[in-house]
Symmetry: D2
Subunit: 338 residues, 4 copies
């Protein structure tokens, strides 16, 4: 089969690889049809990975959808021919985190295209059946692949405890931020503001239902133009400390700051404000138990993934796709279809 293999910094090769063997009893084999590119793929491509570097050549990509082409002997819920979305993290189900229901925090997790293990940019892969979800008829493979970043957003909104009456502010209008804004509205927020520096992205935020968009490229003061203490929860998808500092004063007493965006730097936070306003700062890592709900909302048209897609490439164009995905001002979500 063909696969897009990362050999080192800015060195990706589309080449032949051996097919996977027969799926294990509880696995299915999938013919991958669509893979979305994500910030962590770019990180690997441009600088050798979020953590740990490249230990061995491996296939990038962890946002995937495709067709079931074979099933293991214990699998009853899926059959060859099923169109499916793939949850890319395979936990151990034995560690304390798994037993407590925090399987997204499993230290033994095999997560596609992380720690130099193969991701989804290959034609075929085997995966546990209970992490593979049927794609409703109305949804495309691309939409199926995007259930993964939508799941990160879904999980963020859950941790943000957005509910009826909540005023939410989303920092960053990339694929995650745009999905966070949609889920926050869907969860009943009375206000959803979105910040970014790119007009293209702010326009998308507005089209997808944000009550307000704020162009932070042209701020006049140190803070966002929001009343002090007017926001219940800020959800940061940027990882940029200045963005967070600008938003901090707007958080209400007993409010929340949810951190989804990543950065290697230390994040300097105002201890006085955290204590005086009794704030909660909540990290969010990936997601758990999100696929069925996300697929439902996509199918109902309550959440839109198509508008996030700005570019599509073939597997052979993987390098070109990665370079395009790095261009924040033109690209939002870049898909590889294979």
């Amino acid at each position: 089969m063909r696969a897009a293999i990362l050999y080192g910094q800015e060195n990706i090769v589309v080449e032949d690889r051996p097919d996977p063997g027969a799926p294990a009893p509880d696995e299915v084999q999938i013919r991958v049809r669509a893979v979305g590119l994500c910030g962590s793929d770019l990180k690997y491509f441009y600088s050798g990975g979020v953590s740990g570097g490249i230990k061995q050549p491996f296939a990038l990509g962890h946002e995937a959808a495709g067709d079931v082409i074979a099933v293991g002997r214990d699998v009853t819920a899926l059959a060859p021919g099923d169109r499916v979305a793939v949850e890319p993290g395979k936990p151990c189900w034995k560690c304390p985190q798994c037993l407590q229901g925090d399987y997204n925090l499993c230290p033994n997790m095999y997560f596609m295209a992380s720690r130099s293990r193969d991701g989804a940019l290959r034609e075929r892969l085997n995966w546990p059946a209970n992490l593979v979800f049927p794609l409703p008829e109305r949804l495309s493979y691309d939409e199926g692949a995007l259930v993964e970043p939508l799941s990160v957003a879904f999980s963020s909104v859950r941790h943000a405890q957005v509910t009826l009456g909540t005023r939410a502010l989303v920092l960053g209008a990339g694929p995650i931020g745009l999905a966070v804004a949609q889920f926050a509205r869907l969860a009943g927020a009375v206000y959803v503001g979105v910040t970014d520096t790119e007009p293209l992205r702010l326009k998308l935020a507005q089209d997808l239902g944000a009550h307000e968009t704020i162009d932070v490229a042209h701020l006049t003061g140190p803070d966002l133009p929001l009343a002090e203490g007017s926001i219940d929860v800020v959800i940061d998808t940027t990882g940029v400390d200045r963005a967070i500092a600008q938003a901090f004063p707007a958080i209400k007493p007993a409010g929340r700051l949810v951190l989804v965006g990543l950065n290697h730097e230390l994040l300097p936070l105002s201890l006085l404000q955290i204590v005086y306003k009794q704030l909660t700062v909540q990290g969010v890592y990936r997601f758990k138990n999100t696929y069925p709900s996300v697929l439902h909302y996509l199918d109902e048209g309550q959440i839109k993934a198509e508008p996030l897609i700005t570019h599509r490439f073939t597997l052979d164009e993987a390098e070109q796709a990665l370079r395009m995905a790095a261009c924040r001002s033109n690209a939002v979500k870049v898909m590889i279809e294979l």
Copy 2:
């Protein structure tokens, strides 16, 4: 009446002040008998206040106990002669925070000896009866006064969600830290570790039931000598960023960092760890609804306040008392008895 009035930086005068008038219908008048000194008193004395500076001369002190000497006409639960502990923050009961039950976050709060308003270092004061709590017979005025810092600790342990099975680490063995350690044990923690740099304080922590004490004056590496991911919750009472950084790696996935200690500096936190471990960072500001429980535990001997008291002074010695309280290596809690 006599009162200890702060006129400016390191300028405190014990002088005559007019008595308060008759208590309002829902107030009682209290003859103050004991006041504990706290870090915020020191801050005002040495550098002019935690925030805002000294706008007018005012009495310091907000940890108080005494005798009821008069009651307003609507007060039925208290009578002259009652020995009482005084909750020092008077909320407005009308703002959104009060209506939501977060009265400790009331922006209209009159908190003793803050914002240049009179505190408890005066012989008499009027206070709302529902913020004044009878002192059980076995408890001294000093213990009554210490219900206030014990309440900060109690609230911290609540926000830390310490319960059966919890492994807790307390940073700092001052009055708050030593009380946090006790309440954490009382709430069923299976491990309570305490850090400090002062042998006197570490000894106290041990005597009061800590499972382990860690002298951070002599660390050999960058982190505390604790297994990575072995602690459910770190409760910081120091406000010192290095202390928090040393403890960070010990926090478990899905664990908590509770911030009670204060500092004007920015607190640099590892964004990667907050996200990867999906941590919760929780600020805690003062307390609410704590007095009855704290008094119960003191009365039962399950929480000890007396061992925290290292020095006692008269009202006329207020300056001497403040200077002693600033001496971390000798003093833990300094009381003024009047």
Copy 3:
């Protein structure tokens, strides 16, 4: 002023009453313009009250809106001429429940038209300003009055913990049930089913966005036609034990049953199912901190109150209005406009 006074069972008289005096410093005086009739009004009218009986003649009605016509000297947020909705429960702000933020559970509550104290069916009343909320321009007095029952529904959905992904079932399509269904959708529920016996009400439920309506007048088996364990939360607005028993098997393991409907009888629940499925049964009493959010959703058109109104009467027709309100098959919400 004119007022509709209940003298005894089925004995209501519209008569002249003295005007209220000047509002207290923190109160406003309101010229009442619309009052909705509720089940508890009917209970008083037909059988002498939910609990305690009629101890003295009093005005019925607790769902009210009107105009501010005078303000106390401390009131700054409202002015004569403001159109307002009135939160009908006045807590004491001093008891443990108030201090803990559960002001709806205040044992000293003055709730309009309960315990034989005057309600809103009178032309003028004085009320604390912080329980009186400006009506957005687009909303009618009738809609303002209905913020009260909508608040009961809002509170139920909160306690039901409806959020993204929730499957909810609402028992009863009266004013509360119809509002619960709307708020459940608004909070992101993926399924909202509604049961009733009246075609008129089921039709309304459908029009207002229920995914499914179930006519329980024609059930063929003992249970609702829903898959076992397919519902996260059942919200009962009927108080009818058979209705609850029919729905019980549909609740998921770890699911919830929220009880808002009232009845004097004992409610027989299956202990085996509560334990084996580890269910939570949650009572909900009135509401707290709901008015601003409910008004927002009404103003945005995300929640609809007008379709609930089937009849309108004048104050002089109060008796006729009450008799109509008792007719479940024709009436949903009956308003008195004055």
Copy 4:
């Protein structure tokens, strides 16, 4: 090997059975040394089971401890010779409940001695290594076996949300109730009351630290002699509706009723009280993630299991043991040692 096999109502035979084969890769083989008898064993013995009846002969018993005598090839955490306590429920780790962390609610659970599947009253059994926990040196096999009922109690106290300041009432002073009382104290409860009808059991409750015991065999009124609204949480271990009704008025507004005890009858609850007091009724089924903490508290002597044991028998005396366990006035916990 020898095993105590239930063939039908009151028909238990101790006989030879084939040894289990080699343990699977992730299993260990255990030589059972102690088994505690529980109400569900009695239910099977006397009336053919809690639900479903006896479909095939099977070994009773699910409270077990013993020695590891062999380990599967993937097991690294345990070795032959280890003394261990056995968590008796084996979930599927694939269903929605398992994925959400509610593995105790797994519908595919193999729970020892339920649904006519073999329990622990046999000399040898194979079990997944991650459900087998090393017994600290100081603890006996009997104590190891009792980690199971202690876990039910631990889970109940967790669901009861007992914490600092809680006033708790435990209905029933059997093995579960006596352990609930201990854990409630350990979690910081300021009041733990225990009810029962048997002097032996009430005496034990007192010895184990209850603040108050209430003999309900000699009640003079319909309710317990407790002030109305004085209890935060009632934990019922009896399943007896009259016991629950007697305790109901004592529950505070916003309080909790936790149901652990079982009964096939319908439980009639006061709907008015549930709604007016906004109570939470919470079912608790078995437990999850409890063994390490329970073992810790036993090892530290903070929880006592030995005093619960009133009788010990050999495997050959299994029938006699069951008959003794049914005698509430003499027996509390009956052990079989083999």
